[in-house]
């Protein structure tokens, strides 16, 4: 896997397979490619069975710019050898992915009737987990919902989760197979799959079983595919949403019902919203090219606000002009210090504070 095979490696393997000497195998392989080159030199394309076709293609001269002087120069045309693999060989190379086919993303309508709308909110909690099974697999059932909904769950939030639930359907057959820790999700998947049948799951499970060797590779890839599907579907459905507002309204009504029925979940969903304020905005690392001022401009829109990052991290930083690269700093919420780049008064206040801080170190 991902090794570099040299000619002598090939010759060794060929010598064993064809029962000839290593030197003989080596020279035979050289002869193969020399013959190909000789054929190409005669101006022909060379077709080798089971390998492919080699051709010579002209690369025409083009204009370029001298990187040192900036003067325009002409890059001379040249010839290059193109290689088209034999169909059989190309298929053999692609064998791990052979089970995939192009999929048309259906722009089917949002569930409009009440009984089809109902499963959507119910499946809402498992949906975010399906996006990212690895890290959240170990968490208790209530938790997966929390990180997915940092903002207060408004109506548009409901919409994308509905397609996510649909897209999630291919997941159940895949997740249980590779690793046992994924079982919480599997349980979830069962919950949701009673409402949503599995229409699209046909090709995934079979390819999974006959390639156990590359399971991991597959799993990662399938997660990627599903995430892509979910995003695409979410996009197409948000477009739909603007047209099908009444349907969405009906859906939120149902959502409200389920919310009443399962109070534990609602707290999980609603809780993050008020918490956001005193949580730091982010953490960042000071480097040789990233200073507090850089971060202030990045997060607050004005470099003068670096003083507040400094204030927040006083325990780690002494002199603001002497910070060891690699120091990790916490970026506070702008509201904590009344940071507002569009307000000149706020900027002025930050400047005054900076004078004060500097005066401490003079």
């Amino acid at each position: 896997m991902n090794q570099k095979i040299t000619l002598s490696d090939l010759a060794d393997a060929l010598a064993v397979k064809a029962h000839i000497s290593k030197a003989g195998a080596n020279s035979f392989i050289r002869d193969i490619f020399d013959t190909i080159l000789a054929g190409l030199n005669d101006g022909e394309s060379v077709k080798v069975r089971q390998l492919g076709t080699f051709k010579i293609a002209e690369v025409s001269a083009r204009k370029g710019v001298d990187v040192n002087t900036g003067m325009p120069i002409e890059i001379a045309g040249r010839q290059r050898i193109t290689f088209t693999p034999d169909k059989e060989l190309a298929e053999a190379v692609n064998a791990p992915f052979a089970g995939f086919e192009t999929v048309v993303i259906g722009d089917e309508d949002t569930p409009a009737s009440p009984e089809t709308a109902e499963p959507a909110p119910a499946a809402e909690q498992p949906a975010p987990a399906a996006e990212d099974p690895q890290p959240e697999a170990a968490l208790p059932p209530e938790l997966p919902a929390a990180p997915a909904m940092p903002e207060p769950p408004a109506i548009p939030e409901e919409e994308p989760s509905a397609p996510a639930a649909e897209e999630k359907v291919p997941e159940p057959p895949v997740v249980p197979a590779p690793e046992p820790p994924a079982t919480p999700i599997a349980a979830f998947a069962d919950m949701s799959s009673e409402s949503a049948e599995e229409p699209a799951a046909v090709e995934l499970p079979e390819s999974d079983t006959d390639k156990p060797r590359s399971n991991r590779f597959w799993l990662g890839f399938i997660i990627g595919l599903i995430t892509g599907l979910a995003i695409a579907a979410a996009y197409s459905l948000t477009v739909h949403y603007s047209q099908s507002r009444p349907a969405a309204a009906a859906q939120t009504a149902v959502a409200a019902d389920t919310v009443a029925a399962v109070p534990a979940d609602t707290t999980a969903v609603a809780a993050p919203a008020p918490v956001v304020d005193d949580k730091p905005l982010a953490t960042d690392t000071v480097t040789r090219t990233r200073y507090l001022t850089t971060m202030a401009r990045h997060y607050y829109g004005d470099h003068n606000f670096w003083v507040y990052i400094y204030e927040e991290n006083k325990d780690k930083i002494d002199n603001p002009n002497v910070i060891t690269p690699g120091t990790e700093v916490v970026i506070p919420q702008p509201s904590k210090y009344g940071i507002d780049a569009s307000n000149p008064e706020s900027v002025e206040k930050a400047k005054r504070l900076s004078y004060e801080i500097f005066s401490r170190y003079e």
Binding site: M1, N2, Q3, K4, I5, T6, L7, D9, L10, A13, L14, K17, A18, I20, S27, F28, I29, D31, I32, F33, D34, T35, I36, L37, G39, D42, E44, S45, V46, K47, V48, Q50, L51, F54, Q79, R80, I81, T82, F83, P85, L89, A90, A92, V93, N94, P96, F97, F100, E101, T102, V103, V104, I105, D107, F221, G224, L225, G228, L229, A232
Partner: protein, 95 residues
Amino acid sequence: MDNRQFIKALSKATGKSAKETELLLTDFMAVFRERITDMDTIAIPGFGSFETKKRAERVTTHPSTQQRIIIPPKIVMNFKMSNVLKQRMRDDNKQ
């Protein structure tokens, strides 16, 4: 040059019979395929290297029907000329 001509030229170069050459070539191709399907890079000095690359899946839109389509990922095989060969062809062209 098709496969038959190629084997003829190759047997001339190796001094073996065409039949023998073909058998050896088949063996070689089996070895080659085994290595390349393992996603290894095969480098032939003075010629070039064969390597495989994974192409990620992507979403495209059908130009006329506006349907959105997921193109699945794929492993493709690439050939890259060796620098020695490039230089030699450049020199050949100059003359």
